[in-house]
């Protein structure tokens, strides 16, 4: 993955998304005709290595679809996802496998994002297994290491996911994402639904992990105030399109678009009783 076509003077960004578009087809029934829903249209942005891009927007604006396209759970209909010089949007499921370790996802609801019939160790080790990394012993070592990095005692590796509390579960999904040593973490509302003190703990953990490993984050949230603390740059989406993008200080101080101002006002109001969910 070190082939860089004609390297320019400044290093290219880690991830460059160009004109991304995704349309869902809602299946019809006897009473309702099917419908095409354009979730994302013409979205472009880039993320520098080791930096955080905050992607903000109210619910249904298409920000999760962007996350799923970059994590390649979905295949975008149009546009390019350039990662380390490769267009991930054009690759098949099989061809994507060598790129999977570099891009990992963390989901909003940690409870449903982990297999209920697996132990914590199985959950974290499965990505290593599928990539064919290490012997059983080495994998166990990396599982312990990932759990410690996520702030979980390694002795808990035999427990099932449901034996962990909400915040611990999110740490577990983070450990699963970190075990492959990714370059980019796509975090889809990772703090939503957690209580205030847990949110702060996980947010600090994310900052510490980034400082230690230089991982880039695409941090998706409806909470602009939170992104103001975590992100280097912020992009705002509305109805499937990117409406504003810039350095965090600029977006927070001088929001240009009406949607940005609305989100800013909303996140200011919900400061005290946070965690309202979607």
């Amino acid at each position: 993955m070190n082939s860089q076509p004609s390297a320019p003077a400044t290093p290219p960004p880690l991830l460059r998304v160009q004109e991304l578009a995704k349309t869902y087809i809602r299946r019809g029934s006897f009473t309702q005709p099917g419908a095409r829903v354009q979730a994302v249209k013409g979205v472009s942005f880039s993320i520098e290595a080791g930096s955080t891009l905050g992607l903000a927007g109210s619910s249904g604006c298409g920000k999760s679809t962007v996350a799923r396209c970059i994590g390649r759970i979905e295949r975008p209909d149009e546009g390019k996802i350039l990662f380390d010089g490769h267009n991930l949007a054009a690759l098949s499921f099989r061809e994507l496998r060598p790129f999977r370790p570099a891009i990992q996802m963390v989901f909003q609801d940690a409870a449903t994002a982990m297999n209920p019939s697996f132990s914590a160790a199985d959950i974290i080790a499965e990505p290593l297994l599928i990539q064919g990394i290490g012997t059983a012993e080495e994998r166990a070592g990396r599982v312990r290491q990932a759990m410690q990095e996520a702030g979980l005692p390694a002795e808990w590796s035999g427990r099932a996911a449901h034996d962990f509390s909400g915040g611990q579960r999110q740490r577990l999904t983070l450990a699963r994402a970190l075990v492959l040593k990714p370059k980019l973490l796509v975090l889809d509302e990772p703090l939503t639904g957690l209580d205030v003190s847990t949110r702060a703990q996980i947010a600090n953990l994310l900052l510490a992990v980034q400082a230690a490993h230089g991982i880039a984050y695409l941090f998706i949230s409806h909470d602009l105030f939170l992104l103001g603390h975590l992100a280097d740059r912020i992009a705002v989406m509305s109805e499937g399109q990117l409406v504003e993008e810039g350095p965090t200080s600029q977006i927070m101080a001088r929001p240009q678009h009406a949607e940005t101002r609305k989100l800013l006002a909303a996140s200011g109001r919900q400061l005290a009783p946070a965690g309202a969910g979607r």
């Binding site: 999977r100 996802m105 989901f107 449903t112 297999n115 209920p116 019939s117 035999g158 427990r159 034996d163």
Partner: protein, 326 residues
């Protein structure tokens, strides 16, 4: 864990006792008696019949008769068959083995066919394969077992492709071991096919529904996001998470091992418990009927218990509350 098993065992014994009292009472309260037919014969005097009834203790009060029956159960005889003049246990042993063979083979085939069918039809939801499976399962669920059995019998009779009735051909004893196995397998084919056609659709429908539900769960997307796909995703990630309804069904099919094939046995002439129980019921050979009912109840208890243990082993969510979570 030990106390859990002990509690379940105690409850099972209690349940079996209750079933035995009920079965015993209800069969004795039913109209008719084994000697009704002889009573129609004018050459046999009422005195002879009264003597026969006294010999088998049929004139005693019910609690006494139940006590005698319970002692016989304790001895391992499970009552006495008036029609065959032997202890019930001896009478039922061979047919029970035949029924177990038929039920076991049918159950194994049912599950071997159902699991891949259900998983694949859920994985390719709304595909032609899925629609085909769905149509066929609906069809076979709605056809009564007896109609299927008669249709298959008619086919076997006309085509002469399959032997009909019994379990072995004439001259079975002269065959080699392999020849014997083939002969039994040929006789077993018709009843097994009927049982599989009846049993498979139920399992496929339940398992397909739960696999389809799990396939939409976020953790499956997370697994796909790690590059896990194909059979590994379906059979290592999805199937264990979707297995609970199937495990409960598995317990039920264990419970039905000795009782699920009775009708098919009667229709196809398989020498199992089915024909024996039918004859015993018609002849009012009551101890045989009670023993058969007890056997069914015992199998139900065993099947449910096995399913609970399997669920406990398969699903960590059910293990909550056990101190050894690690």
């Amino acid at each position: 864990m030990k106390s859990y098993v002990a509690r379940r065992l105690a409850r099972a014994v209690l349940l079996l006792f209750a079933v035995s009292v009920l079965c015993f009472l209800l069969t004795r309260l039913a109209p008719g008696s084994f000697f009704d037919e002889i009573r129609l014969n004018p050459q046999i005097s009422p005195q002879t019949i009264a003597a026969l009834q006294a010999r088998y203790g049929l004139d005693e009060p019910l609690p006494l008769r139940y006590g005698r029956w319970a002692r016989s159960v304790a001895r391992g005889d499970f009552g006495f068959s008036i029609a065959y003049n032997t202890p019930v246990a001896q009478l039922m042993w061979a047919p029970a083995k035949h029924t177990l063979l038929l039920g076991g083979v049918a159950m194994l085939l049912c599950w071997l066919i159902s699991i891949p069918l259900a998983v694949w039809s859920a994985a390719y939801e709304r595909s032609w394969f899925d629609r085909g499976v769905s149509a066929l399962t609906s069809l076979f669920i709605s056809i009564p077992e007896i109609v299927l059995a008669l249709a298959l019998l008619a086919f076997a009779m006309r085509s002469h492709a399959l032997p009909v009735g019994g379990m072995t051909s004439v001259g079975f004893d002269e065959l080699t071991a392999w020849g014997k196995a083939v002969d039994i397998a040929r006789h077993m084919l018709a009843p097994v096919v009927i049982l599989v056609l009846v049993g498979t659709p139920v399992i496929v429908r339940h398992l397909r529904a739960s696999v389809a539900e799990v396939l939409h769960a976020p953790f499956v997307e997370a697994a796909r996001g790690c590059g896990i796909g194909g059979a590994r995703l379906l059979f290592r990630h999805v199937l264990p998470a979707a297995a609970n309804p199937a495990i409960s069904l598995f317990g039920l099919s264990l419970a039905a091992l000795l009782s699920g094939s009775l009708l098919v046995e009667v229709v196809t002439g398989w020498p199992g418990l089915g024909p024996l129980i039918l004859d015993a019921t018609l002849a009012r050979d009551l101890d045989v009927v009670v023993a058969a009912a007890m056997l069914g109840a015992a199998m139900m208890i065993v099947g449910n218990f096995a399913a609970d243990l399997l669920l406990l082993a398969a699903d960590p969510r059910i293990r909550t509350g056990s101190p050894d979570a690690g």
